[in-house]
């Protein structure tokens, strides 16, 4: 179930499951919590994702075999890790995105129904990656799964709420992006002046609340 894979001379990949689902996510989160609570000497960074954690280390101080041995010890204790109850984060959304109509048409529903479905679901932050604060959210209602744009936009405005495949998310910065934009949040997602930095953290539960133009 767990696979260790050499990723580079300064990183080791740990795959914790094949499927993208809550069980795999909880294994990722538990291993991350152990790696944070009991840091391995020489480890410089951790990159959690849907079903994996990339462990980045100083290649002079550490080596793959030692890290694998220590992580195997953590894996033996994984079941005993008790995760804190998820934080619940509400994201206010003005549902007026440029792709809202297209998404509705693709599913043969009214835009109001897209909003209703999107804002009534509860999502989980599988991980934060790509750019600071970008949360990959699971839990999108199946009826809303929508393929990405064939040509990504060169610039997606900061705060855009979007659907990409079976996932949804919020763009924390002006970046390129291929997801379909259904709305916008006025809140700052990644704020270096806040203690927690990112509004959305791995493991959080997220709800979107429709608001009128702020």
């Amino acid at each position: 179930m767990t696979i260790f894979q050499y990723a580079s001379d300064q990183s080791l990949m740990v795959y914790l499951g094949e499927e993208i689902n809550l069980d795999t996510h909880h294994r990722v989160l538990k291993l991350l919590r152990l790696l944070e609570a009991e840091p391995i000497p020489g480890v410089r960074n951790l990159h959690p994702a849907y079903n994996s954690i990339l462990i980045v280390f100083d290649p002079v101080e550490q080596d793959h075999a030692t890290i694998e041995r220590i992580v195997r010890g953590y894996l033996d204790r994984l079941e005993a890790v008790v995760l804190a109850p998820p934080r619940v984060v509400e994201i206010p959304v003005v549902y007026d995105g440029p792709d809202l109509k297209d998404v509705a048409e693709l599913h043969g529903m009214m835009p109001e129904r897209v909003i209703e479905l999107h804002s009534s679901a509860r999502y989980v932050v599988y991980f934060v990656g790509f750019v600071p604060g970008f949360a990959y959210l699971g839990g999108l209602p199946k009826e809303l799964a929508t393929p990405r744009l064939t040509t990504p936009r060169k610039l997606v405005p900061k705060g855009s709420v979007a659907i990409g495949g079976t996932h949804t998310g919020v763009y924390p910065f002006d970046t390129p992006g291929g997801w379909r934009l259904i709305g916008k949040t006025p809140i700052e997602i990644f704020d270096p002046d806040r203690a927690e930095l990112s509004r959305l953290l791995i493991g959080d539960e997220v709800r979107f609340t429709p608001i009128a133009c702020p």
Partner: protein
């Protein structure tokens, strides 16, 4: 506090140090100097700690006036530095008297030149680092590249004695055009023929290259699973092959995760060389085993450690 007045910023100049480590779970990549060896040595020459913040200039340097004077050391690629019209050497600590202007021009060698100042460049640290992350506008000097009229504060870090560098060390750290690489996490997804093609071909760095990544032009590679896969953490120096088969080297401002298969990964010791690659430079890749990569990394670490301690 002594300052530096930016009279012209050059083509693309940012404040960098050795990066912002440990924030991968928040999606924050380390950023930091594209050629960290040049930054480390420049700092040591100027009498700073290796990790002090400095200016990273790209392809074309700028002009910087020192109203209060200072001690500078320029390292990396030769941008033809001069003080008030008199040439000064690269890789050497030089005194700038109050009111003098340091000028740098177009590169005579690689992509990046570092201007290290005794005391370091003082900016507000973000997550423990002065590095600029351009894509997100975080860190560095107001989160952006420098522009005319900016005033940079020179730091008050303790300054030790200035140092010189010998030609042996300089030769040993000269940027490479043949980059050594190990397997990456998806190397076995590619056909043996594709992997052979990758290592036997010359690639050219394209204009669409920056601190996030370098796009390469050359032998196209067959892309497994049409270039799609479940997003996962990606390593510095990973060579990913998206649909279309043109490889991309992930660089210091990389996304922390990505969803393209990776055919190889440049070794840590050769990443500073990537920071000196210019558009249209030709490069090749040389396969090394994990054991060889580690030995090279350790040898380089010892070399730089001995220099810093001397």
């Amino acid at each position: 506090m002594p300052v530096i007045q930016v009279q012209s910023p050059g083509m693309f100049s940012t404040v960098q140090d050795l990066g912002r480590w440990g924030y991968g779970p928040l999606g924050v990549s380390p950023s930091g100097a594209a050629d960290p060896i040049a930054l480390r040595i420049g700092n040591v020459l100027a009498g700073n700690a290796e990790s002090a913040a400095a200016l990273e200039m790209t392809l074309l340097g700028g002009a910087f006036m020192f109203p209060d004077g200072g001690i500078v050391a320029l390292t990396g690629s030769d941008f033809g530095p001069s003080i008030d019209g008199t040439s000064i050497p690269m890789w050497t600590a030089c005194k700038v008297r109050p009111g003098q202007t340091l000028r740098t021009g177009p590169t005579r060698s690689g992509a990046r030149c570092y201007l290290c100042v005794a005391g370091g460049i003082a900016v507000k640290l973000l997550l423990g680092s002065a590095s600029t992350h351009i894509l997100t506008g975080l860190g560095g000097f107001e989160g952006r590249q420098l522009k005319k009229g900016d005033v940079l504060k020179i730091g008050e870090d303790p300054v030790g004695r200035q140092r010189t560098i010998d030609s042996d060390l300089q030769a040993a750290i000269a940027p490479r055009r043949t980059l050594r690489a190990t397997i990456g996490p998806q190397t076995d997804w590619f056909s043996p023929a594709s992997v052979r093609r990758f290592y036997e071909s010359a690639y050219m760095v394209t204009e669409e290259s920056n601190r996030m990544g370098l796009r390469l032009e050359g032998a196209e590679l067959e892309t497994p699973h049409s270039g799609q896969m479940t997003s996962e953490g990606v390593s510095l120096g990973a060579i990913q092959v998206p649909a279309g088969g043109k490889p991309i080297i992930l660089f210091v401002e990389q996304g922390t995760t990505g969803g393209y298969p990776k055919i190889a990964n440049i070794i840590a010791a050769d990443m500073p060389s990537v920071g000196q690659l210019r558009p249209r430079d030709d490069i090749r890749f040389e396969f090394v085993t994990p054991e060889a990569a580690r030995a090279i990394d350790i040898a380089q670490h010892r070399l730089l450690g001995e220099f810093a301690r001397r």
